[in-house]
């Protein structure tokens, strides 16, 4: 659901604020494929892997869930909703249910209302012990449609 409030994290104009809850089930052990399933506004994210990401030169992975969409104001918008640092040696299987987004999903303007096509993708930054810093996007994504009206009474 969505509200239109003052973006209290910074600019004072009224912008659309979106709320998304999601589940993340991830098995980041082998390979680079991500599949997102949608079920009643609750998203399952399953990573199926082919070979190990955590080799001797990988210090950590910085995972983040980002929402990408287009609005009248801006041709491209990307907002990071959630992130997590996974160190080598951490449990590579993530199973997070009913997560609220970590960061406020403010749009720059009023572009979330009635926006049918918000794409959520999971990506990660590989941080080596020394060397190149690649950014990898999991394959598979989910589209979230936002409703046409604002919520006035529901509290977060």
């Amino acid at each position: 659901f969505r509200k239109n409030v003052e973006d209290f994290t910074g600019p004072r104009e009224r912008s659309d604020l979106g709320f998304v809850t999601f589940d993340i089930t991830a098995d980041i052990l082998n390979g680079k494929n991500a599949r997102l399933f949608k079920y009643n506004m609750v998203f399952f994210l399953t990573l199926i892997h082919l070979q190990s990401i955590f080799d001797w030169n990988v210090k950590q992975l910085f995972l983040y869930l980002s929402a990408e969409y287009s609005t009248k104001n801006n041709a491209l918008n990307q907002v990071v909703l959630w992130d997590k640092i996974m160190l080598r040696g951490d449990n590579p299987r993530l199973s997070l249910k009913d997560m609220k987004s970590k960061y406020f999903f403010f749009d720059d303007g009023n572009g979330l209302k009635g926006n049918r096509n918000i794409t959520l993708t999971l990506s990660w930054n590989v941080v080596p012990n020394a060397g190149i810093l690649p950014l990898v996007t999991g394959s598979g994504h989910v589209s979230v449609p936002f409703p046409d009206t604002y919520e006035t009474t529901k509290s977060y």
Binding site: P11, K59, S66, A75, L76, Q78, V80, L135
Partner: protein
Amino acid sequence: MDLFGDLRRMNKRQLYYQVLNFAMIVSSALMIWKGLIVVTGSESPIVVVLSGSMEPAFHRGDLLFLTNFHNDPIRAGEIVVFKVEGRDIPIVHRVIKVHEKGNGNIKFLTKGDNNEVDDRGLYKEGQNWLEKKDVVGRARGFLPYVGMVTIIMNDYPKFKYALLAVMGAYVLLKRES
């Protein structure tokens, strides 16, 4: 007496030779640095991480290699090095929000991985977003610990002078075989 004069003259010539050698080394180093600036498109292609705001990925003293190609779009999740208008210190943080218009105009927000809040507190008074012009470069590669030398030289200037004195003495006194 004549012999002594000869010796003194020879030493002077050797001295000039050593100085020229030294100047050549310095010029070559500068040329390599300028070359890097051209190739990467960044005014500062190698930076040292100064704070712990990106831990545990980067620690104080790590070295980062940057590129700043004009056509590279700025996307959420990327690690950028930027300077706040009016301040000289480069800051290394991650992009968490991007709003790009059709004409290529981009504004974005950054946050350090190890910080609780985004960087709005670091920006200029009243500034809410960063723009492409604030970017020094994008972090492409990294080496741990190597940048510590720069930090030590900044924090302990006596060390810097001592190092320069040793280097100078070495170059001037070294005999080429």
